[in-house]
């Protein structure tokens, strides 16, 4: 059997108890779009599934005190259509809209996307650029962790889905002088895994011409979602200008170290696309910040 028991807790606490009771043999399931194929293909084994997709504590997209908080069980379709996100975290809405297909977007969740721990995940890359933090509930209470810290290697998350539950993701909303953009390179218009995903968040000085802060996120160029920090350093505090841009992008494509994949592209091509995609995302993010 793929699983022996399938449980629907009515609350977060009940879900945590169910996990605890099963002592490592149960696992959290939300949409199941990654987990069900893994269980079918015997890439994972589990005795019990604890369905968190309906828990009220894991729902909602809200802004409070300049911070946007998104419940881990919010589906990609909602993220893509959210007016709040489109306005104040556009890269995330764009990333969510790029997930596989409408059917997957109606089932898959942002939490599941993070815990599945793929280095190029369409929502994880924008979340990284947005400086997101995760709220994780466990038997010892709830803790907060920067998103970056949750990744070990492809498919392996620090979140132990047999004992903990990712409850929400939070990041600062992008207000005035801030902008973001997401860019994707894939073989086809839909149903395709990315050759490269990039997300950029910028904050401009009041003059609208100088980069006060910039964050460049990329995947898959490493075992985990990647921030091109050296390139960010070069850009920070500088005016938005071709020379600086070109040298920063060159640095980004050096520090990112994509590998050759017979199905998705050679390392040389992917490295080159790093600078192309980042440039495109940067230009759009800056334009968004200027409006």
């Amino acid at each position: 059997m793929k699983w022996e028991k399938y449980l629907f807790p009515a609350s977060l606490d009940e879900a945590l108890s169910m996990l605890a009771d099963h002592e490592g043999e149960a696992r959290v399931i939300a949409g199941g779009t990654d987990l069900v194929p893994q269980l079918k293909n015997k890439e994972r084994r589990v005795k019990c599934l604890v369905d968190v997709s309906r828990l009220p504590e894991l729902k909602g997209i809200h802004r409070q005190d300049g911070v946007i908080r998104i419940g881990a069980a919010v589906i990609h379709e909602k993220l893509a259509a959210s007016p709040l996100l489109r306005e104040q975290a556009c890269a995330l809405a764009e990333g969510a809209a790029a997930v596989g297909s409408p059917q997957i977007r109606y089932m898959g969740t942002i939490g599941g996307n993070v815990v599945n721990a793929q280095p190029a995940a369409d929502t994880a890359i924008p979340l990284l650029a947005l400086g997101a933090e995760a709220e994780i509930a466990g038997s010892n209470g709830t803790r907060r962790e920067p998103l970056e810290n949750l990744y070990v290697r492809p498919g392996e998350s620090k979140v132990d889905a047999s004992a903990e539950i990712l409850v929400a993701l939070r990041f600062p909303a992008l207000g005035d002088h801030r902008g973001s953009a997401f860019a994707r390179l894939a073989k086809r218009g839909a149903l395709s895994l990315p050759i490269l995903n990039a997300a950029v968040v910028v904050e401009l000085e009041r003059d609208g011409k100088t980069l006060k802060d910039v964050r460049l996120a990329l995947g898959p160029v490493a075992l985990t979602p990647f921030r091109a920090r050296q390139a960010e350093e070069v850009l920070r505090g500088k005016p938005v200008q071709e020379e600086t841009l070109a040298s920063a992008l060159e640095i980004a494509s050096q520090e990112a170290q994509p590998r050759s994949n017979p199905l998705r592209g050679s390392a040389e091509y992917r490295r080159e696309m790093v600078s192309v995609l980042l440039r495109r995302a940067l230009e759009r993010a800056v334009a968004a910040a200027q409006t």
Binding site: L185, K187, R188, G189, A190, L191, S192, L193, P262, L263, G265, S266, Y269, E272, M273, V276
Partner: protein, 762 residues
């Protein structure tokens, strides 16, 4: 032209569409019979290995398992045209597709579990995965009777004229190598087979086959049941595109499981199994040399191909027979030489796939035509027009071209993409075109290319066409119903079409070579004409008068002189039937196209008509990423006459999506004999978002031999797309990609090399 017809030329909705749109149609995958078991096949883990032992004891012991078979349990039979493919392998495996054992169990899960319990001990052998490597001395040998790994039966050579003289006469001579990869059919409905013996030993097989009668014969040879005791019924299938044109080991395996268990057994492939185990399109490595004169006359074409046979032989390795036709006969070319060598490797083997080698040959020929034109400084469209085939031509290979709309196709498709205005312009956009020739009136590759039909008319006016031909979803049933309705003079909704049940339907060689509309259509027309004659004779007897004075239309019989006075035809049918010396209306037609088989030098006119097409494409290239966006495809197809324009458009649009995939996206990545992308996530089939604007242009040349002038056109739609795209990319950004698919990475690399060369030349 179509105003004179009631049903020919009309957009009649497909007869089976309502049942499909409500989910009522029963596909092979939906079929359940009482006591039915589920079969599954254990395939090799290695591309080349000795089988040291197979232990099935644990699998046999699993509750719910009713049979486990290996090669020991069945007679030793090898299938395939070269008789080199054992149904179950013993001794040695030669590819990861190799069938080692099979189980039948009460449900799929149990069958799957049973496979996991079968223990196979292998001794891995070095493998060879490239046909050129395979032919070198010292390469691992796959089959004992082919010590140099060459499939000798397909080492072929063809020529007409003298290419050496031709090249001497030419002002421009160019030479290039092209490569085309493995791609696969990706039918939405995977392979399946359902076999059941009745107590008297009669075997019924529900199959997805495209060639029920040849399948009946092949199956008989493989399983040892006399063909007269085998009934082949084609279940409704989810696409074929040539993948069901041969009999593959899983089918006799299904029969053996049914025999052993005494229960019906159904085998359906999973999608992963389909990618790995269903035959692919034939990959080709091709060297071509072409020559032309500065006045634009095409002079010579020399082609040499190396084909990867794969581990066993199926139709893929026979594609040279079709490729030869394009090489010898696409455009007027006085001097041609073609040779091909086919070598065994431990790769997957190829079967028939829409176009049967023609997409590969056309890619090579049409890219080179473009390159010649550029070498001559000539507009590629003008170069093609100058050398276009014309009605009345007999090519060097003996291909007799009767109806021919090639010139019209070139001109109309070019106009649709504003060729003159858009060609050779600065910027990242460009236009390209490619044409094709394909058989459209049958293809005599077998002693008979015929099709039989029976038309039965009942007392209520219901007309039943019983045809030997096969509808695999392309809509041939509807076309045949229109033809019968038109010929007989009854509303098309009076007509029902039955096909593919070898106990009931007359013989037909199979749905291939785009022959169904032409051959089955002519056959159906003959039977309908016969039925009409019988009905009018009955009417003449009944109302008095001459046969010649009577006619029938819309189900009504009338005197030509007084067309307003009508009698419903079913009344005449009843009148003829219900009397002591009566008779029912039962008509027949057998149509064998007036063609010949090729002689030993591959010359001969194997088809009664040929279809032509030109596709013109506009692309935009993103020079930073190398991505090619196809903006528009204008597809002009000479179909003789469009019996059903809506169906013709559907074939064009669907064929283009396949050609687009072949040109830009699709590749079955095979490394060391393993398929690396056996799933839809990594095998890039075009989605709706990848489709360009399509302008389907129907060109009608009214073929003298076709039913109401129609010719076959289903394969042509996917044939010229890839070269048209390659040619458009060249026009857009000046790079020539010689191996498919045209990926962004290849385009970017080529752009860089071009820039580097330009720098160096400064």
């Amino acid at each position: 032209m179509s105003e004179e017809f009631s049903f020919v030329g009309k957009r009649v909705p497909k007869l089976d569409a309502p049942a499909k749109a409500t989910g009522q149609v029963v596909y092979g995958h939906d079929m359940k019979l009482p006591r039915m078991l589920y079969g599954k096949i254990l395939r090799s883990e290695h591309a080349h290995a000795r089988i040291l032992s197979i232990d099935t004891s644990k699998a046999r012991a699993l509750p719910g398992v009713r049979a486990v078979i290996t090669a020991e349990d069945i007679p030793e039979v090898k299938i395939g045209w070269a008789r080199d493919n054992p149904v179950l392998k013993s001794g040695k495996v030669r590819s990861v597709r190799d069938e080692i054992a099979a189980v039948a169990a009460v449900d799929e899960d149990t069958a799957r579990e049973a496979l996991e319990l079968i223990e196979v001990e292998y001794e891995e052998l070095p493998g060879v995965f490239d046909p050129e490597e395979a032919m070198k001395p010292g390469a691992p040998v796959l089959h004992a009777d082919a010590p140099n790994n060459i499939q000798e039966k397909m080492r072929q050579a063809y020529y007409h004229g003298d290419v050496h003289k031709g090249f001497e006469e030419s002002d421009v001579v160019i030479e290039d190598r092209f490569r085309m990869p493995f791609v696969t059919h990706c039918c939405m409905g995977t392979c399946f087979c359902l076999a059941s013996f009745d107590p008297s030993g009669e075997l019924t097989v529900w199959s997805s086959t495209q060639m029920p009668f040849l399948y009946q014969r092949d199956l008989s040879g493989a399983v040892g049941v006399p063909a007269s005791k085998i009934r082949v019924i084609k279940a409704t299938i989810g696409g074929a595109f040539g993948s069901k044109l041969d009999m593959y080991p899983f089918e006799p395996i299904c029969v053996f499981l049914a025999k052993r268990t005494g229960c019906p057994v159904r085998i359906t492939f999973t999608r992963e199994e389909e990618f790995i185990s269903s035959p692919t399109r034939q990959p080709v490595v091709c060297d071509i040399k072409s020559g032309a004169k500065k006045d634009g006359t095409l002079v010579a074409r020399q082609v040499s191909m190396i084909l990867d046979n794969g581990a066993y032989s199926s139709w893929g390795s026979t594609t040279p027979l079709v490729m030869m036709q394009t090489i010898s006969s696409l455009y007027r070319v006085p001097n041609v030489k073609y040779d091909v060598v086919v070598a065994y490797t431990n790769n997957p083997y190829s079967g028939a796939m829409r176009g049967y080698g023609n997409p590969q040959a056309t890619f090579v020929v049409e890219c080179h035509m473009d390159m010649l034109a550029h070498g001559l400084g000539m507009d590629p469209m003008e170069f093609r027009l100058k050398n276009a085939n014309r009605s009345g031509d007999v090519t060097g290979q003996g291909v007799k071209i009767t109806s021919c709309g090639l010139t019209e196709c070139i001109e109309k498709s070019a106009e649709s993409v504003s060729w003159k205005a858009k060609r050779a312009k600065a910027g990242n956009r460009g236009v390209g075109m490619a044409s094709m020739i394909h058989v459209g009136g049958g293809a005599r590759i077998y002693p008979s290319d015929g099709c039989g039909s029976t038309v039965k008319v009942d007392d209520f006016g219901k007309v039943t066409l019983i045809t030997g031909s096969t509808d695999m979803g392309q809509g041939s049933e509807t076309i045949l119903a229109q033809i019968v309705a038109e010929e007989l003079g009854v509303p098309v909704h009076n007509v029902t079409v039955l096909n593919t049940d070898t106990y009931i339907t007359p013989w037909d060689v199979g749905a291939h070579a785009s022959r169904t509309t032409f051959v089955a259509g002519n056959s159906a027309r003959m039977a309908a004409a016969d039925a009409k004659l019988q009905i009018l004779q009955a009417a003449a007897e009944s109302v008095g008068g001459d046969l010649d004075d009577l006619d029938m239309k819309d189900g009504q019989i009338f005197r030509k002189a007084e067309p307003e006075e009508t009698i419903p035809f079913e009344k005449m049918v009843r009148g003829k039937h219900f009397r002591p010396d009566g008779d029912v209306i039962l008509a027949r037609g057998w149509y064998e196209p007036p063609t010949e088989r090729q002689d030993k030098e591959f010359r001969g006119n194997i088809s009664a008509a040929y279809g032509f097409a030109t596709q013109a494409v506009e692309v935009e290239v993103d020079t930073e990423t190398g991505e090619v966006e196809v903006l528009k495809i204008a597809a002009a197809h000479d179909v003789g006459r469009a019996i059903n324009p809506m169906a013709v458009e559907g074939q064009i649009q669907g064929g283009i999506s396949m050609g687009l995939g072949y040109g830009l996206y699709e590749e079955l990545v095979v490394e060391e004999g393993q398929v690396l992308n056996p799933n839809f996530a990594d095998y890039a089939l075009p989605t709706v978002l990848d489709m360009p604007e399509i302008d389907p242009i129907i060109v009608e040349t009214d073929d003298p031999a076709g039913p109401f002038g129609a010719k076959g056109m289903a394969e042509p739609a996917c044939i010229p797309t890839a070269p048209a795209i390659a040619n458009a990319v060249y026009d857009a950004v000046g790079v020539r990609i010689r191996d498919l698919p045209i990926t962004p990475e290849k385009v970017l690399r080529a752009l860089k090399e071009k820039a580097t060369r330009a720098e160096e030349e400064k």
